[in-house]
């Protein structure tokens, strides 16, 4: 699928996307609250945040679907306030909601979409075929969109975003509803695109995915950026190396606090979690001494960071 792709230069670490006091209000509700960020050329940045945090709203401003209420957003040197046509020429979008063209078959969806970018018919067909091959949709090429499963639709939306070989790719929850095989396919596509120095903005609720794919994570909540950094650094900074999970036991809790004096200990329902960077031997000793069962010791991950920073409460529309 990536034959003859333009390899975007990655020599200078240019700022390709820059948001300044970017704000979006829906009537009186502030969905994006004066955020600032910079994204470098060739970077893959994950926007994480609970439901309703403002991720989709931010992404939509990046392809001029929504005008900012105030502040500015500059993409490849062009402001979304007045240069939308040029911006959309270099940006590819796989939106969160499905907006495939129900009046056309799978392959026609791609060919017609390519036409919107002034791509010639033969070239469009060629690219469509490359994408269908890669995303394993060739079998469905002449099917109507209704005949696709949710996961197939998501793959087709991804494929469609690549037809004009964009410099910036916006992926809003590209793997939601995909089976493990299809998820790996999408990850593979993202990795290949990273090699070509395509700048990628990705939103996802799968923390493992963000950790694997993204060079940098921006965590948003209530329309504000609450953390920004490479996944490894965020884990180290907020959690430490390891996490010990064990059943709640009121007599054990004080002893845990004693042994892991510098650690953060959380009681979540029937389980306790200990976040610490202490070496494994310390854990071993403790577990042996107290004959503890039903225990897991694992590496700290991005999900721990996410839950720590955004809390455990479910989000309703507030």
């Amino acid at each position: 699928m990536f034959v003859e792709w333009v390899i975007f230069s990655n020599e200078s670490r240019d700022v390709l996307i820059k948001a300044v006091k970017l704000t979006k209000k829906y009537d009186d509700f502030v969905a994006v609250d004066g955020i600032d960020f910079e994204i470098y050329s060739g970077e893959c940045v994950g926007f994480l945040g609970p439901n309703g945090a403002g991720k989709t709203t931010t992404v939509r401003m990046m392809y001029c679907f929504l005008p900012p209420t105030s502040g500015d957003l500059i993409i490849a040197g062009l402001s979304v306030h007045d240069r939308c046509r040029e911006i959309k020429q270099v940006v590819g979008v796989a939106p969160q909601e499905d907006n495939l063209d129900l009046d056309f078959s799978v392959v026609k969806n791609l060919v017609v979409y390519a036409r919107y970018f002034d791509i010639s018919k033969e070239e469009a067909l060629k690219r469509a075929n490359e994408q269908l091959d890669f995303f394993q949709l060739q079998e469905k090429r002449d099917m109507p969109i209704e005949a696709l499963s949710t996961g197939m639709k998501r793959r087709l939306i991804f494929a469609r975003a690549l037809l004009h070989k964009p410099k910036v790719l916006l992926l809003d929850e590209p793997t939601t509803g995909l089976d493990p095989q299809a998820r790996h396919l999408v990850w593979d596509a993202v990795r290949q695109l990273k090699k070509l120095h395509v700048t990628i903005i990705l939103t996802t609720h799968y923390m493992d995915e963000a950790e694997i794919l993204c060079d940098r994570i921006i965590i948003v909540d209530h329309g504000k950026i609450i953390e920004d950094g490479p996944p490894k650094e965020l884990i180290k900074k907020h959690i430490g190396e390891n996490v010990l999970e064990l059943d709640y036991d009121s007599t054990l809790l004080p002893m845990l606090k004693q042994t892991f004096s510098d650690a953060r200990i959380e009681v979540i329902g029937e389980r306790m979690q200990v976040f610490t960077s202490k070496p494994y031997s310390v854990f071993d000793g403790f577990l042996h001494e107290h004959k503890i069962q039903n225990v897991t010791l694992r590496k700290a991950n991005l999900e721990d960071v996410f839950l720590k920073l955004t809390g455990r409460a479910l989000r309703t529309n507030d």
Binding site: K18, P67, L100, D101, R115
Partner: protein, 283 residues
Amino acid sequence: MTEVNLRKSPAKFSIPKISSNVWKVWRRNADVFTKTIGVNFLPSMLEPIIYLFAFGFGLGGFIPEVNGLPYINFIAPALVAISVMNGAFFECTYGSFVRMYYQKTFDALVATPISIDEVVAGEILWGATRGAINSTIVLTVIGISGLLTANPIITTPLFILMPIIAFFSGLMLSSIAMCFTAISPNIDFFNYPIFLFITPMLFLSGTFFPMNTLPNPAQGLALTTLPLAQIVNLTRGALTGATETLLGLTTKTLIPISIIWITIITIIFFILSINLMKKRLIR
């Protein structure tokens, strides 16, 4: 890096900015139309045939002449005008609403270099094209029926102007329709313009009975307010060589009046519809 500006996006009334991208939107709809031509063609052909039979031959048997014409010759140009109106109006109400609201086609389009102005303009152009296609079908049916009954309804070569007349008349009706689409909360809303605007117009525009039988004030009102009345003037002029005589005005005056009327109304509603649509879609 360009200079950062922190101003708010303006959301005021504006003259649409349009490029050749409108034809991409038009092409999309044309592609769908050609794919489903079987379903589209038959109804638009059957309807005028039924009207011709029911009114022309059936009712026409009881009505000797209208304004010096056989009844069927009187209604035939009106049937062409009605087909333009229906083609354009339904395309840009139900058709556009389904694409905008249910199918999210507009959302997909505006993620490409096509702007929202161009999406709406492309839809309107397509609506006008539907009007022109419909009128051509009806015209063909009328022509054939004229040959078969040895009563050539179409009596001037001006009929070749019909597609152009239909396209521009269609442009007016699609622009008006698009305004309704922009303000409709749901698809059932279209019952209002159809029952309050389209249906009355269908009968009061000099279509099935001559407008000059109406009292003078009513004639004046119809002539100044009804889009279909203007279209009927043009189709009647183009197919039979003369309009009705209304308020003492003859073909020579009525044709330019109708052309100017259609032009002005089209421009106003075209600009208005794009602005209303932007207001609806850009949050």
